[in-house]
């Protein structure tokens, strides 16, 4: 059903420019990877704290509030730098099972991180009991690790 849409996307002049030019793709990939690192840091310091590890000398809400802008803005950069890469190889992505795996994990990751975890991390330790913060922390880490694995395998195995 989405195949015509991906075909149309791949045929756009913007997509062709990225596909045929030498430098734009590596430059945008480097920006994407820097954003991955910023996102991973902002995600991990809170997830580890939910697991009772990492920066235990800080309260969870304070840490989560400090990490939130880095998390949001790095995701914006990830999205903006990911789009040209996806558009320039649209049909390759469409036919790659790893692309769809990545997108499913991104959707779940966004819900867990920006909805569920936001609620859990807004309250002091103990408010939700000892288990739920840990479940959310490990789920968040697992989902975003899956996103990274899926992303890498698009390039390697598709």
């Amino acid at each position: 059903m989405l195949q015509p849409f991906f075909q149309w996307m791949g045929g756009l002049p913007f997509s062709q420019f990225f596909l045929e030019s030498v430098w734009p793709t590596p430059i945008i990939q480097c920006i994407h990877l820097i954003a991955v690192s910023v996102f991973a840091g902002a995600l991990l310091i809170v997830d580890l704290r939910l697991l009772g590890r990492g920066l235990t000398s800080s309260s969870i809400p304070k840490l989560a509030a400090a990490a939130q802008p880095w998390l949001v803005w790095s995701f914006v950069v990830l999205f903006l730098s990911g789009m040209p890469q996806m558009m320039s190889t649209a049909l390759k992505e469409y036919y790659s099972p790893f692309f769809w795996w990545k997108m499913e994990m991104v959707a779940l990751g966004l819900i867990v991180t920006f909805v569920v975890r936001k609620v859990i991390a807004s309250k002091e330790e103990g408010h939700f009991g000892p288990v739920w913060p840990k479940v959310v922390g490990i789920t968040s880490i697992s989902l975003w690790t899956s996103v990274t694995i899926g992303a890498r395998l698009i390039g390697l195995l598709s």
Partner: protein
């Protein structure tokens, strides 16, 4: 001498086995990228604390004790997979401009960390609660942030071995 070493490794049966493995390199590269997220993510918060950009309310020693076990674990996986990637395809990496630039940046990162540990850190008790660290510590943070970003960029660019300066091609390392 370096070329001889790379050629020696290239000829080893275990290097050949990794090189000819169907998915060995795929697993190594994937683990390298995932552990990069851990290393770069954690080190960036340590550097930003030193640079006065984040976590200003947490004492420096607490940031260190909270994050460094994860940094060391991530570095072990990241360095291990990185070494194995070179071990499996040494003659692919030997003539690669970006690979050597990345190695140079890793040397700067290591030297900066050693300088911090052997010099600036010795007075950490005097300033660890200050929201903004002394100039030398801030500089160490900025240098580390910049060069880790460089390590990531050059690491990605390793895949683009053809996009290099002409003077590097003229060296004829691929021959």
């Amino acid at each position: 001498m370096i070329r001889t070493l790379f050629e020696f490794v290239d000829a080893l049966p275990s290097s050949l086995a990794w090189r000819e493995s169907l998915n060995g390199y795929v697993y190594l590269l994937t683990a390298h990228v995932v552990s990069m997220g851990l290393v770069a993510g954690v080190i960036s918060y340590w550097d930003m604390r030193l640079a006065g950009m984040a976590l200003k309310w947490i004492p420096v020693s607490k940031v260190q004790s909270g994050l460094f076990p994860w940094l060391f674990a991530g570095t072990a996986v990241n360095a291990g997979t990185g070494i194995m990637m070179v071990y499996s395809q040494p003659m692919r990496y030997y003539p690669n401009f970006w690979f050597w630039l990345k190695m140079g940046m890793l040397v700067v990162v290591a030297a900066n960390a050693a300088y911090f540990h052997l010099s600036i850190e010795k007075t950490v008790e005097q300033w660890e609660n200050d929201p903004v660290a002394p100039l030398k510590a801030r500089l160490a943070g900025y240098v580390s942030l910049a060069f880790w970003a460089g390590v990531i960029v050059t690491g990605r660019m390793t895949a683009y071995s053809g996009l290099v300066p002409q003077w590097w091609i003229d060296l004829g390392l691929s021959n």
